[in-house]
């Protein structure tokens, strides 16, 4: 039972805020939901499915959000697998709509990570808590950035990948941010600037790390048929994939990440090939996340990521454009970023990106990574098309 082209993204909204000490988390989510519905030409009473999760909500946050918006949906999903959650929610919404569980499903995220002063990457714990695996990690000072740094260190050791190559990713994201009026950091940077920024967790520098902002966003998912009658060009969901990776009982190959599995699934289900992808949104929590993801999705061979990201290939006008909004490295990273991957991919497929628009963009890929790449992490991949 293929889901391909049965459902579509009918509306998107990226909250313009990057710092909102005057707004509550639920207010940002509410404004995002209304923004996405307006984009689709729908109203709140049309919504009968809701997906959300977040760092600022309680364990039953989705129920609280239904209370806040006075919703009583027929389908709810609060899968919480880190920053990739909203990419997975999009897939779940598509499956639920296709199965007849709901008709119009909103996926929403909001956060006041910046104004609430969350130390997301360097707050200790590394996301650890009371689960069995955590007991063997928390005594040693794991951080989120440290977990990704250990992947970078191993990649450099095995394949000669350089800090300069990783820096090129940050430089390209900043170039894209300079063309996005809503981006938090818009002044161009150079490879030298990245290398001169202080080391947070070796070999990653400050400018290898995503920023911390407030923000939010929402998506409206509905059937392809219904989407064709709405305000905007439908962006069809072609293929999806989701999974997790972990320490594998102490026997893990660290450079094989969750993306290897989700990419394979999404391409198979979409029935398209790598060469068909016109642009990609690749979760950029850190520069190494992008490099490791591109290799594991199969856009280049393992070990060749350093060369692949060099020479301007990832620019909006390059051979393989990614993260045209400026990504988490420069535009926004309110704790979790998955929702923005789907929003920007949708805008590109609708041709709404102005100076940073990718030419002839017909098929896009959005890939979310959640958690800590050096230990437990998740991934979700979506392949989308305007045709």
């Amino acid at each position: 039972m293929s889901l391909s082209r049965k459902t579509a993204v009918a509306g998107v909204f990226e909250h313009p805020t990057r710092f909102a000490p005057d707004k509550s988390l639920f207010q940002i989510m509410g404004e995002s939901v209304l923004g996405a519905l307006d984009d689709a030409g729908l109203r709140i009473k049309d919504v009968n499915g809701l997906c959300t999760t977040g760092m600022g909500m309680g364990g039953m946050g989705i129920v609280s959000l239904c209370d806040y918006l006075n919703l009583t949906p027929n389908f709810v999903d609060s899968t919480s697998i880190g920053g990739s959650s909203f990419v997975a929610h999009t897939a779940h919404a598509a499956a639920a709509i296709h199965a007849g569980l709901c008709d119009v499903c909103v996926v929403v995220y909001g956060s006041t990570a910046s104004s609430s002063r969350f130390a997301i990457g360097t707050g200790g714990g590394g996301g650890g808590g009371g689960d069995p695996c955590d007991q063997y990690e928390i005594p040693f000072g794991p951080t989120t950035v440290g977990s990704y740094a250990m992947i970078a260190q191993r990649h450099m050791h095995d394949y000669g990948t350089t800090s300069e190559q990783l820096a090129e990713i940050a430089v390209t994201m900043r170039l894209h941010a300079s063309m996005n009026p809503a981006a938090k950091y818009r002044d161009p940077i150079t490879v030298e600037d990245v290398l001169a920024s202080r080391i947070i967790s070796s070999p990653l520098h400050l400018l290898d790390c995503c920023i911390i902002s407030d923000g939010g966003g929402a998506l409206v998912i509905t059937s392809a048929e219904r989407a064709r009658d709405l305000k905007k060009t439908p962006v069809y969901i072609l293929g999806t994939g989701e999974t997790v990776r972990h320490a594998a009982r102490g026997q893990r190959d660290f450079l094989e990440i969750a993306a290897a599995q989700t990419g394979r699934l999404a391409f198979e289900r979409a029935g398209v090939a790598h060469k068909d992808i016109d642009m990609a949104m690749i979760y950029d929590s850190f520069t190494i996340t992008v490099l490791a993801t591109l290799e594991n999705l199969g856009f280049c061979k393992r070990g060749e990521g350093g060369a692949f990201v060099s020479g301007g290939r990832l620019r909006f006008d390059g051979e393989f454009p990614i993260n045209t909004d400026g990504g988490g490295l420069s535009s926004n990273h309110p704790g979790m970023r998955g929702i923005f991957l789907v929003i920007e991919a949708t805008k590109q497929l609708r041709g709404e990106c102005g100076p940073r628009q990718v030419k002839d963009c017909k098929i896009a890929l959005a890939h979310g990574t959640g958690g800590a790449l050096g230990t437990r992490h998740s991934a979700a991949t979506l392949i989308l098309s305007n045709q």
Binding site: G123, G125, Y136, G146, R154, G250, F254, G374
Partner: protein, 142 residues
């Protein structure tokens, strides 16, 4: 006396010890490092748990480790705002691959950041951080 009490205060997070993992932590208290091996299929695993994740058998054996291994990957942390760690920057966090075949997260101590290398032979050091908890850390092999 007050100063001594101060020095003894350990502010980093401590593991939660329960009936499933107690044998492992008790061995560390005796300055012994063990990993589990499946009594049925022979698969080795870390961290300790009640079932083999290869064949799902609950027939568990404990094998004593040599305490030697190699650095599989590492990072020197210069920023961590968590209490206990922010006072001990920079520190080296690493996955050490034990000679017995599993990788474990740990700290490399007695090692300057510029000295740390992937593949570097290391040996276990037992740190008694509280009366109940001993941690297995590693240092460059001598």
């Amino acid at each position: 006396m007050a100063e001594q009490t101060q020095a003894k205060k350990y502010s980093k997070p401590l593991p939660h010890i329960d009936e499933e993992n107690r044998p492992w932590w008790e061995a560390l208290q005796r300055h012994e490092l063990y990993i589990q091996k499946c009594g049925k299929c022979g698969d080795v695993r870390y961290y300790p748990r009640a079932l083999c994740t290869n064949c799902m058998s609950s027939d568990t054996q404990w094998i004593k480790c040599s305490g030697r291994g190699k650095v599989y990957t590492f990072t020197t942390t210069y920023q961590n705002q968590a209490p206990g760690f922010r006072e001990s920057l920079p520190y080296i966090m690493a996955y050490v691959e034990l000679d017995e075949g599993v990788k474990m997260l740990t700290n490399i101590i007695d090692c300057a950041p510029e000295q740390a290398k992937i593949g570097m032979p290391v040996e276990v050091v037992y740190e008694d951080v509280t009366p109940q908890v001993t941690l297995a850390k590693f240092r460059p092999a001598r």
